[in-house]
Symmetry: C2
Subunit: 329 residues, 2 copies
DNA sequence: CTGTTAGCGCATTCAC
DNA sequence: GTGAATGCGCTAACAG
C-alpha cells in the first residue's frame, strides 16, 4: 500500500522516469504521443505528484507564509481571502501564522517558515525580528512583503499606507466640520497608536483618549465610549481605530440616548462591509485590503521569478468615506 | 552563498551528519556533551533545518490543510484561529484552502493537499469529492476531519452538530413563545438549508423564507427582512441563518420603525462576539467554534500517531442563548 | 553512544 | 526526443 510515484507512472507508460516527469510538467519537451500516453496513465493509476520531493529538488516549495497578529482581526480578512485566492491561482498555497502580537512568537514563526522554505513571506504590519532571526531571514533570501503599513526602510518590500496620514486626514476632516471637543477610541496596537499620533499632531493639542486592548470588538467600543464620556460629557465626535470599535460606540451612544450624528459624530477605520449598512451608516477610513494582497502577490512573484519590482514600497493610500454618522446639519 | 545544511553543522562540530541530526531533534539518543556542542554550533553558524527534506524522508510534512468555503465567513473564524494556534503548539502549520462553495475547486484543493503530503485535512462542512478524488484521498491515507456538521457516514471523522436539530430547537423555542407568524432569512448554503428543514419539520408547516446568496452579510440581512415583510407584513419573529444576517434584520427593523422584540423578535445563528453587545442584544444559537478545533486537532493527532480516536464522530452540540431580541413581555 | 549505508520522489546535467 | 546518472537535505535502519 505504498504511494504511487512517478516511477510507477513511467513503468506503466513504458518510458523513463524523467520522460514521465517532462510529459507531466513540461509537455513541450516530449513528443505529443508520449505526452498523451503518460498523462493518461497518470490519471488511470491515480498518480499525485509529491510536491515535497519536487520542491526539495527544485528549491521551490510553492508556498507563501502569511503572518497575522490575530486571525480574528477582521480588518485583515479581505487581505487574507485575496491572498489565498490569488496565490492559489498562481499555484501557490498559503501557510498561516498567528503571532498574537508577540515578538517571540513572530520570531519562532519566521524560523519555521524559513525552515519550510516558503517562497515568500507576507506580513501584516512591520516585522521586528531579533538580530539573529533577521540575519537568518536575509541569508535565506526569501522575499518579504510587509503590508498594511509603510516604513521608511522596510525589511525588504512594503505595500500599505501611512497611518500618520490617516490620523491627520481624520483630524482635518473633524476640523473642517468645526468640531472642537473630540476624542479617540483606540486599540492598543502600534498602527492604531500611529493614527492617534497623526491625529494629534494635526489637531494641535491632546484629546481625551480611551485605549482598549487588541483585538478590537464591539464590546470594547461600548466600553470605550463610556470612558470617553467620563473625560468629556460634551464630546462632539469620536475617531475609532477600528470599525468594530466604532460599531460599539454607535451602540453605546444609542443606549445612552445620544443621537448620532447630532449629539455625537463617529468615524471608524478599515472600511468593513457592515459600515454602509448600520443605522446610522458609519463614516470610515476605507482601505483596499484586497488591493494590498494583489500588490503583495505581484511583488512576490516578480522576486520569485528572479527580477525585482520597480518600486519596493507601494503606497496604496486610503479614503475617508463619509456616511451618516458624521453628516450633521 | 548556499544554504547552511546539517552537513555544515556536523563538520563544524566534528561529528557525523546523523549524530548532528539526533543531537538536534532527538537529544536523548546522544551524549549530553555532544548534544550541547552540536546545538551550540548550529546556533552559531545560523543553521535552519530544511523541513521539506526532513518531511520527505520521514513521510511527515508537519502541515495540516484547512479547507473553508470562504474566509470571510466570520462564523468559522474562531475555529480557524484555534486551529492555527493549537496546531502551531504541536509543531504543525496550517495550509489554507478556499473552496468558494465550488465543488471543482474543492477537488483541486484536495489533490493539491494530497500532493503536499499534508498530515491531515480539516474541512468546514462535509466534503463531497468526485469518485476519482475520493479514491486518491483514501489511498493517501491522510486523516480527514469534517467539522461544523455531522454526517451519518462521515468521510473519515467528523466533529460538529446536527443542523436539523438546530432548526428544530429554534422552532420549538418560537412555539413556546406562542408566536404564529414567523419567517426565515437564510443564506444559500447547504447547512443553512438543513437548519431551515429542521425548523419546518418541527414547525409543522411552511413559513415565509428569504434566501440570500452566501456569504451572509449585514446588507443581505437588511434586504432579507424587506422581502420577508412583503410576504407577511405582520411577521412576529425571524430565524436568521447567520448572526451577520440577524444584525442586518435588526437594523432594517429599526429603519422601518419596528421595535425589536415587541414588534418583531429575531434569532441569529453562530454565536458571534457582537451579538451580546448589539442593541437590543441578539438571541443566537451558540456554537463552540474553538471547541470544534480542539477536538479536530486531537483526533488528527491520534491518527497521525498511529492509533484512532475512540469515536470517529463527535457531536459538540449547541445552545440557544436568549437575549433581548426575543424577550418579549 | 556513534557512524555507515541507503534511500524518500523528483528534476537538473549531461549524454545519446 | 529520450535516458542514465546524480544529488536536493535529511533520517530510518542497521551495524559497530
Amino acid at each position: 500500500m505504498k504511494a504511487i510515484t512517478l516511477h510507477d507512472v513511467a513503468k506503466a507508460a513504458g518510458v523513463s522516469v524523467i520522460t514521465a516527469s517532462r510529459a507531466l510538467s513540461n509537455p513541450g519537451r516530449v513528443s505529443e504521443s508520449t505526452a498523451r500516453r503518460v498523462q493518461q496513465v497518470a490519471v488511470e493509476i491515480g498518480y499525485t505528484p509529491n510536491l515535497l520531493a519536487g520542491g526539495l529538488r527544485a528549491r521551490r516549495s510553492h508556498t507563501v507564509a502569511a503572518l497575522l497578529p490575530e486571525i480574528s482581526v477582521s480588518q485583515f480578512l479581505p487581505t487574507l481571502a485575496a491572498l489565498t485566492e490569488g496565490l492559489a491561482a498562481e499555484g501557490y498555497q498559503l501557510i498561516l501564522g498567528q503571532t498574537g502580537y508577540d515578538r517571540a512568537r513572530e520570531d519562532d514563526l519566521l524560523d519555521t517558515m524559513i525552515g519550510r522554505r516558503v517562497d515568500g513571506i507576507i506580513a501584516t504590519g512591520l516585522l521586528m525580528p531579533r538580530e539573529e532571526v533577521k540575519r537568518r531571514l536575509i541569508a535565506s533570501r526569501i522575499p518579504v512583503v510587509e503590508t498594511w503599513d509603510l516604513s521608511s526602510n522596510p525589511f525588504d518590500m512594503a505595500v500599505g499606507f501611512s497611518h500618520l496620514k490617516v490620523g491627520a486626514a481624520v483630524a482635518g476632516f473633524f476640523l473642517r466640520k468645526g468640531w472642537e471637543r473630540v476624542g479617540i477610541a483606540t486599540g492598543s496596537d502600534q498602527r492604531a497608536e500611529q493614527r492617534r499620533e497623526g491625529f494629534l499632531s494635526a489637531w494641535g493639542k491632546d484629546v481625551p483618549t480611551a485605549t482598549v486592548p487588541a483585538p478590537s470588538s464591539v464590546a470594547l467600543g461600548r466600553q470605550a465610549l463610556g470612558r470617553l464620556l467620563e473625560q468629556d460629557p460634551a464630546l462632539q465626535a469620536v475617531f475609532c481605530s477600528a470599525d468594530t470599535l466604532a460599531e460599539g460606540v454607535l451602540t453605546e451612544a444609542r443606549a445612552r440616548g445620544l443621537r448620532v450624528p447630532d449629539d455625537l459624530a463617529v468615524c471608524g477605520f478599515g472600511g468593513a462591509e457592515f459600515c454602509a449598512h448600520l443605522l446610522p451608516s458609519l463614516t470610515t477610513v476605507q482601505v483596499d485590503g484586497a488591493g494590498i494582497a494583489r500588490h503583495a502577490i505581484s511583488m512576490l512573484l516578480q522576486c520569485i521569478e528572479g527580477s525585482r519590482p520597480a518600486e519596493n514600497v507601494v503606497d496604496i493610500g486610503f479614503e475617508i468615506v463619509e456616511r451618516e454618522s458624521t453628516r450633521r446639519v
